[in-house]
């Protein structure tokens, strides 16, 4: 083999075998019935030395030209700038190669950072407490629905049509396990936001455990979330909001307009797009529900000398204690990603986050207005939007995504991926990284050639 990362020399092995009084390591596998032993080498490609490995992976990375295009792609993952301190600090071996802080006395680094994370998420969401992270926004939303069902003691989960279709799929998968009914409330096709009348009809049955709102929604539109929350509350349902954390620099904290649980995906907070992961989900709720939270929670305590220290706490909610009665089966979460986001938020500060949100807003509106002025192009929805919007092109024979790509720009995804009726409608996301020149370039690529 080319690399084995094993310190043993042959002499070491011999000494250890001698200490065990055996002649060969094979004897240690005596409990495996012979017929279950593989008896042949695994059929894997040959081992690579480190130089070969690096060359091979560099070749694979180079075979992703999508990584070098100008990115207007949206739909939950965004091309934001990552401050240099974030990967530098989060990449330190002491953070990256530790595990869940089961031994708090030698894990204060991770524990303090996660306590900071919980605080920052609580601040962003306007809620009281947050957990130490979930896998992603979609699974966080599904877990939130479970939690709401358990608290509300009702079964029906209502999810708005503006929630990311993949998050709705995850919700359906999770809910199917426990046979929980999921109802989708349609989006008003003109506005791009929730059809409130339809919502009212669903709520009227009085069996709704929770309403799941995404803000801004999948189409980039700003839902009338406070109004939705009022109606949900009025029907005795809990309110769960899935929020873009960058938007929370500018948009009201959902906890302030009635959300009981706020979740979301943290990729925008200093994490590379990385073809979709790892990112993380955040999960915050009101204080009274804390013992229903899924996942790890860090709390403050003291040591024998009265010094402040941090520990994993409220563990009786968790699988390793409560087993089949746990609030979730989650064990390993996305701690390192949460750490990166903590550093990111600390680097930005409240003003930096606000400015970032405003930059996205301004740039997205500039591009939207320029696109709307193009012949044959229209913005599909009328509702206000934040950093992302949907465009459609009526120009016959013209493929806007292909034209953009020819000019080096990625736009999308095409909504037809999830809604066949919307084939050709494209999401366009504009982060602070997109320059006016790039936006003008995209507009030029979509212009009518003379």
């Amino acid at each position: 083999m080319a690399i084995d990362y094993i310190p043993h020399t042959d002499e070491d092995r011999e000494a250890m075998l001698a200490a065990l009084g055996i002649a060969s390591v094979d004897e240690l596998f005596r409990d495996i019935p012979p017929e279950l032993r593989l008896g042949r080498p695994l059929d894997l490609p040959p081992a690579l030395t480190e130089p070969e490995l690096v060359a091979h992976l560099e070749a694979l990375a180079a075979a992703n030209p999508g990584a070098t295009k100008v990115c207007f792609l949206g739909g939950g993952v965004y091309d934001h700038f990552i401050p240099s301190v974030v990967p530098y600090l989060a990449g330190r071996g002491e953070f990256a190669t530790a595990y869940t802080p089961y031994q708090p006395e030698v894990s204060q680094g991770t524990l303090r950072a996660i306590f900071e994370f919980q605080t920052m998420i609580a601040e962003l969401t306007g809620l009281d407490v947050a957990n130490a992270s979930m896998y992603d926004g979609a699974t966080a939303l599904a877990e939130a629905a479970f939690m709401a069902v358990n608290i509300a003691r009702r079964e029906r989960i209502v999810v708005l049509g503006g929630v990311h279709p993949e998050a709705r799929q995850v919700l359906q998968t999770y809910a199917a396990g426990q046979a929980l009914p999921v109802t989708v409330v349609p989006v008003d096709p003109e506005q791009g936001t929730t059809d409130l009348a339809a919502l009212d009809r669903v709520l009227a049955a009085g069996d709704v455990a929770c309403v799941l709102i995404q803000q801004p929604n999948f189409y980039g539109c700003l839902e009338p979330a406070p109004e939705i929350a009022r109606r949900a509350k009025g029907a005795g349902a809990m309110v769960v909001v899935s929020a873009d954390p960058v938007s929370l620099g500018l948009l009201e904290a959902p906890g302030r307009y009635g959300a009981d649980i706020v979740v979301g995906d943290g990729q925008s907070l200093g994490l590379p797009m990385a073809y979709g992961g790892p990112h993380f989900g955040f999960f915050a709720c009101r204080a009274e529900y804390v013992r229903r939270l899924p996942g790890r929670i860090v709390g403050r305590t003291v040591d024998r000398r009265g010094r402040e220290g941090y520990v994993l706490t409220l563990q009786t909610r968790e699988q390793h204690i409560r087993r089949d009665r746990a609030t979730s089966n989650i064990c390993t979460n996305h701690s390192l990603m949460a750490l990166a986001a903590t550093i990111h938020l600390a680097a930005l500060g409240p003003r930096g986050l606000r400015q970032l949100a405003e930059l996205c807003l301004h740039k997205a509106h500039y591009l939207a207005e320029r696109i709307e002025a193009l012949p044959g192009f229209r913005r599909v929805f009328r509702a206000p939007f934040f950093k992302e919007f949907v465009v459609a092109c009526q120009r016959p024979g013209f493929d806007p995504a292909a034209a953009a790509l020819d000019a080096g720009y990625l736009v999308g995804p095409d909504l037809g991926r999830w809604e066949p009726a919307r084939r050709g409608q494209l999401l366009v996301a504009v982060t602070e990284r997109r320059t006016r020149a790039e936006m003008d370039g995209l507009v030029a690529a979509w212009g009518v050639r003379a």
């Binding site: 596998f29 695994l42 180079a62 595990y99 992603d136 040591d303 409220l314």
Partner: protein, 489 residues
């Protein structure tokens, strides 16, 4: 003084990332966003200078024990060395800057990597196909149990509502089964630490959907009856789920698929050396036998045999549905792929051989000092009990664990599995040298001696850590779960 929280460095108006001025016309935000939706009070994020931020997180990092700082024999977690080359390649811009919705044509390198990784995992596990989507081991378990559910439903066996787990199982097993809507049935272990076959037979009936098993199990023991267990479960119409947490013992030696398992999850962050990140990200791909392939979540990566091009196949009508957004923890997959490619077949087998050698080497030397509840050859880990120590000296497994901290050694997993009292679950892994193991044995001996001769030293441990033994009961009784500005507490 231990390092305070980042908020201690915050002052109003200090620091904060500066962004370029807008290069587009700007209109007041009130014209863009309805007033009701605009934030009234800014979040109280810290306002710190970059220098204080860097110092703070540098100092915090130094308060962690990690694989990069010392021995970490945390049983069941496979805290092996994480190769730095994997970090280097995962950070390549061609991977890091790739948006998940980029057209397949522009992500052929990423798709090829996923395709090859899936094949490698299937070969290692003896499986037909695998999904890379699950984000962690427990997530893989949920995926696997939902696959089993879909399988039974498709065969008109939707009534099966029980999942059997041994009493030695990881907590995630019963939690997962419950989360998927199953009733959990526990079977006891026999005197050799394996599944009690009679008890198993007793609970096997037409309602059983699956047996969830780790093999080697959480005692570090290979269940010699696995073939018989598989027969019994299959005869009852159930499937076998393999919890891959302990796969580091069997790479290239024995395959779950050959043992009779139908569904397998892998912990890439354990077996395939991707770093644990202080609690994640992990990655929990799930492999299945042929009969379960139709139910795997979309998308899978396929290769067009005509053109050789790779593509994401979303067209999977029988799939259980999505388990998360996108395609999995891709950057973790990159690291695991790099690891498998670095080692190859011979290297992976050597990993398991040396992991098992190390565990037995340590076990034999500690067997006299601490109680060995199952005196058998172990696999990659083993479980001791401090019950003998406790009886004689009052020193508990927890005390031993805390005392180890003073020697720069991360303690074993303690009080698990639940069937062993005062359990110390020790997994050295293959990346530790004989010298490291010898030192661990010496320290464990010393602690046993201290327990007899100066028990207070052990009971008051740790003595050399940034904070002393922490009051976990207080934390749970009066939860303080976030920082608040002074005066607001």
């Amino acid at each position: 003084e231990p390092e305070p929280l980042i908020f201690a460095y915050s002052r109003p108006g200090r620091g904060g990332m500066r962004w370029p001025a807008p290069d587009v016309p700007v209109r007041p935000v009130e014209e863009r966003v309805p007033a009701e939706l605009l934030r009234r009070d800014p979040p109280r994020l810290p306002e710190v200078a970059e220098v204080d931020l860097v110092r703070h997180y540098t100092r915090l990092s130094q308060m962690n024990h990690a694989v990069d700082t010392g021995f970490y024999p945390l049983g069941s977690c496979t805290m092996k060395y994480n190769p730095k080359v994997a970090e280097r390649v995962a950070a390549l811009p061609g991977f890091a800057d790739l948006h998940p919705y980029v057209p397949d044509e522009l992500a052929q390198g990423a798709l090829r990597l996923m395709y090859e990784l899936e094949r490698a995992l299937c070969e290692i596990g003896g499986m037909a196909r695998a999904t890379l989507q699950p984000a962690a081991g427990a997530h893989g378990e949920l995926t696997g149990i939902l696959l089993i559910r879909a399988y039974h439903r498709a065969r008109g066996q939707g009534h099966r509502h029980k999942v059997i787990v041994p009493d030695s199982a990881h907590g995630t097993n019963p939690a997962t089964a419950a989360m998927a809507g199953y009733q959990v049935v526990e079977v006891p272990s026999d005197a050799r630490g394996g599944v009690d076959l009679r008890a198993l037979e007793a609970v096997l009936d037409d309602d059983v959907a699956a047996l969830m098993l780790t093999n080697p199990n959480t005692l570090g023991l290979f269940d010699e009856n696995i073939h018989r267990i598989a027969e019994l479960v299959h005869e009852a119409g159930g499937l076998l789920y393999y919890d891959g947490a302990n796969a580091n013992a069997i790479l290239g030696i024995s395959r779950p698929g050959d043992m009779g398992f139908d569904v397998v999850h892998f912990n890439l962050h354990k077996t395939f050396a991707t770093p644990h990140g202080g609690g994640g990200p992990g990655s929990g791909p799930v492999g299945v036998k042929e009969e379960l392939v139709p139910f795997l979540p979309a998308p899978l990566v396929e290769r067009d045999p005509a053109t050789g091009r790779f593509y994401l196949d979303h067209d999977r009508p029988q799939a259980i549905g999505r388990m998360r957004s996108f395609y999995g923890n891709f950057a973790v997959l990159v690291r695991a792929y790099a690891y498998i490619r670095a080692l190859g077949a011979e290297g992976l087998r050597r990993v398991s051989e040396d992991a098992v050698l190390n565990a037995n080497y340590v076990m034999r030397q500690l067997a006299g000092l601490y109680r060995l509840p199952y005196d058998r050859t172990c696999m990659h880990e083993f479980v001791l009990s401090a019950s003998n120590l406790r009886e004689r000296t009052g020193i508990r497994a927890l005390d031993v664990a805390k005392r180890l901290l003073d020697f720069g050694i991360h303690p074993p997993t303690i009080y698990f599995p639940l069937i062993v009292e005062e359990a110390l679950m020790i997994e050295p892994t293959e990346t530790e040298s004989k010298e490291t193991l010898d030192r661990f044995v010496a320290v464990m001996r010393r602690i046993a001696r201290e327990a007899e001769e100066e028990p207070e030293v052990v009971r008051q441990a740790p003595h050399t850590t940034p904070v002393g033994r922490l009051d976990e009961a207080l934390a749970a009784r009066r939860p303080v779960l976030r920082w608040r500005p002074e005066g607001e507490d």
